[in-house]
């Protein structure tokens, strides 16, 4: 299987604190990885670096065979909007735009807003009938699904999700996991940060972080499509 992403000796240092300490990790195309670890272990830091929203103090990030760690901020932004879809722990939506418009914002900054496509994305997350609702009129689970629709609208190669189910009840968690399975079947790579063992066990591979270091990196034998 070909490599999608490679972190080589990545460190992120805040003053004295090594949020990431010489981390190396490879993500293959189409792979679904869970990143787990205690609070403060550097999971979000790693996501930010992969998602081009932050730069490492040292080390290389190679995406699709291209070293992006030296690129300018603008290049990184372009790169990230073409290749990566982000899902956050809090459901970050623009609160004066309705669901379909929130999805269209991502299209707007990527290429061209297309309401039909945006509605299709909402349909995939089961929210077609809520398209005209404002975020305040949606439940937490529904908001998170809008975020996922927004993340997938530009057909990214990689979905990065930081605690996507952290604020959801079980029913909604299952809906989100179903969507992830579906995306995985379609060949999208997924990197999902989670505290939750149940969510972690849905992935093909589980990487554990502690104090900025990878302490284990195992294939999940219980993985099923």
């Amino acid at each position: 299987m070909s490599k999608l992403l490679e972190l080589k000796n990545i460190s992120k240092i805040y003053g004295e604190l090594h949020a990431l300490d010489n981390v190396s990790l490879t993500v293959d195309k189409g792979e679904w990885i869970a990143i787990m670890g205690p609070s403060g272990s550097g999971k979000s830091t790693m996501m930010n670096i992969i998602g081009c929203m932050d730069k490492a103090t040292s080390g290389q990030v190679i995406f699709d065979g291209k070293d992006i760690s030296k690129e300018s901020r603008r290049k990184l932004t372009e790169f990230h909007r073409d290749k990566i879809g982000l899902v956050f722990q809090q459901f970050h939506l623009i609160n004066y735009l309705n669901a379909v418009e929130n999805v269209m914002v991502a299209q707007y900054y990527h290429s061209m807003p297309d309401e039909k496509e945006a509605l299709e994305a909402l349909e995939r997350v089961g929210l077609k009938d809520r398209a005209k609702h404002l975020p305040s009129q949606l439940s937490g689970g529904e908001q998170q699904r809008v975020c996922i629709a927004r993340a997938i609208i530009n057909s990214p190669e990689l979905i990065l999700a930081d605690e996507p189910t952290g604020n959801l009840d079980e029913a909604n968690e299952n809906i989100v996991l179903d969507i992830f399975h579906q995306l995985h079947r379609e060949g999208t790579s997924l990197v999902v940060v989670t505290h939750d063992d149940e969510v972690g066990l849905e992935a093909q591979r589980i990487v554990r972080l502690e104090h900025g270091k990878i302490t284990s990196d195992k294939k999940n034998d219980n993985f099923h499509e």
């Binding site: 403060g40 979000s44 996501m47 930010n48 998602g51 929203m53 932050d54 901020r73 603008r74 932004t77 372009e78 990230h80 909007r81 982000l86 956050f88 722990q89 809090q90 970050h92 939506l93 623009i94 609160n95 004066y96 735009l97 418009e101 269209m104 914002v105 991502a106 299209q107 707007y108 900054y109 990527h110 807003p113 927004r150 530009n154 930081d162």
Partner: protein, 431 residues
């Protein structure tokens, strides 16, 4: 999409936007008021300063009575003249040395290529000799000095030594309308008499005279058939500023006491010079032309400086106000703006969004401020300069440029903050 987002901001942050608009409106209104007043009243006063090269006019007494009675200047009514001979008397009065220049100014309606125009006959650099009681007075005088502000745009100033009496100077506007160039010969007709005049120069005066045609006094007298007569004499004299005594004397010199009369007579007040002119030429009426004195010109300059300062300060204040409001607006929205960046917006795109919102607000504010300021300018114009202020396109243009600059400069801190905004820090908050 873009405008949907802009609209969303207005819907949500309307209070802040309103405050920005009000700040801009205030700045713009003061700038508009000051600029309009400066450009317009300044022009007017300067024009007046220019126009009144002479400060005394001498007209036939009968006409003075008529124009005082009817308060009109009517060429048809004018039948009385002053003999040209008499003008020499001006060199004999007590304050003769204070009279710097004088010239007869005869205007008449004439036809130039079928259009009615005002034809003025006068002296240019006339050499005058006058004998009285065995003394010979002489003087070079004329429009060359009395119209020192004329801008000769083509050709040269008429020179009585060099040019024949059938030469003319044409006002720039008239020249443009009739396509007259210096060197051309024009045909002028007046009361059935016709003359060919050679145009030696085109002048720009900045007032009605730009539509006139000027020629020598002799030429005008021949055309209008009035003989050696003058309709009006313009006199430029150095005068002392009016004081109480001058005001009292101006009402009626005969009411002054003997000492007062002597003092008044021997002071170069406009009124005493006029009085002496009338003594020397009894059939004439001399009166002062309202003229803005130098000191008033200086006050104008200082006022303009003050107005410039007020404008600069108000715009500076507006810049600070905008800067505060925009920065706090961006701070309030940092999450939303960071999200846009996380979704793929570049710094440029986010800046464009924020600037568009601010610019729309500014434009609305500036438009409101412009009209407010224009009303304000009228108030200032009427109360301070007792003159209506015209709407100046120049002022509008300057205000627009200033407001755009103020808005942009005021937005700099907010935009710098926005550039530094890291989605990772804002969105993943609470590590």
């Amino acid at each position: 999409m873009f405008f949907r987002m802009v609209r969303g901001t207005f819907a949500r942050q309307w209070k802040k936007m309103l405050m920005i608009a009000v700040t801009v409106a205030l700045g713009a209104s003061i700038a508009t008021a000051m600029l309009n007043v400066m450009l317009d009243v300044g022009d007017k006063i300067n024009e007046e300063l220019k126009t009144y090269g002479s400060n005394i006019t001498v007209i036939p007494q009968s006409e003075a009575v008529i124009s005082k009675l009817y308060d009109v200047e009517n060429n048809d009514v004018q039948t009385e003249y002053i003999e040209e001979e008499k003008i020499g008397e001006l060199m004999t009065i007590f304050w003769a040395n204070n009279i710097t220049d004088f010239a007869p100014v005869n205007d008449t309606l004439a036809e130039l290529n079928g259009t009615e125009v005002t034809l003025v006959g006068s002296w240019f650099d006339h050499h005058l000799e006058f004998k009285k009681k065995g003394t010979v007075y002489q003087r070079d005088t004329g429009l060359t000095n009395l119209r020192s502000w004329w801008d000769i745009t083509e050709g040269e100033m008429l020179d009585e030594q060099k040019h024949s009496e059938n030469c003319a100077m044409v006002g720039v506007q008239l020249a443009a309308e009739q396509n007259i160039r210096s060197g051309d010969t024009v045909t002028v007709e007046c009361s059935g008499r016709t003359k060919q005049l050679e145009v030696v120069g085109i002048f720009e005066s900045g007032d009605d005279e730009d539509n006139y045609i000027y020629t020598t006094l002799d030429c005008e007298q021949e055309l209008s058939g009035c003989g050696d007569m003058m309709k009006k004499v313009e006199v430029s004299a150095i005068t002392s500023p009016d004081d109480e005594l001058a005001v009292k004397a101006a009402r009626n010199p005969s009411l002054l006491s003997g000492d007062e009369y002597d003092l008044w007579y021997c002071t170069a007040y406009v009124s005493s010079i006029c009085f002496q002119i009338q003594e020397a030429i009894p059939e004439a009426s001399a009166s002062a032309v309202r003229q803005i004195a130098d000191s008033e010109g200086k006050i104008l300059e200082k006022t303009q400086l003050l107005m410039t300062l007020i404008t600069v300060l108000s715009l500076f204040g507006a810049t600070l106000g905008i800067s505060n409001l925009v920065t706090s607006g961006v701070m309030e929205r940092s999450q939303e703006l960071a999200l846009l960046k996380a979704v793929g917006a570049t710094n440029g795109e986010v800046t464009l969004l924020v600037l568009t919102e601010i610019m729309i607000t500014s434009v609305i504010g500036a438009a409101a401020g412009y009209f407010l300021g224009f009303a304000f300018a009228q108030v200032i114009g009427q109360s301070v300069f007792s003159s209506a202020v015209e709407m100046s396109g120049m002022a509008a243009f300057i205000v627009i440029v200033l407001i755009i600059a103020v808005t942009l400069v005021g937005s700099i801190p907010a935009i710098r903050m926005l550039m530094r905004l890291r989605p990772s820090e804002v969105l993943h908050g609470g590590h």
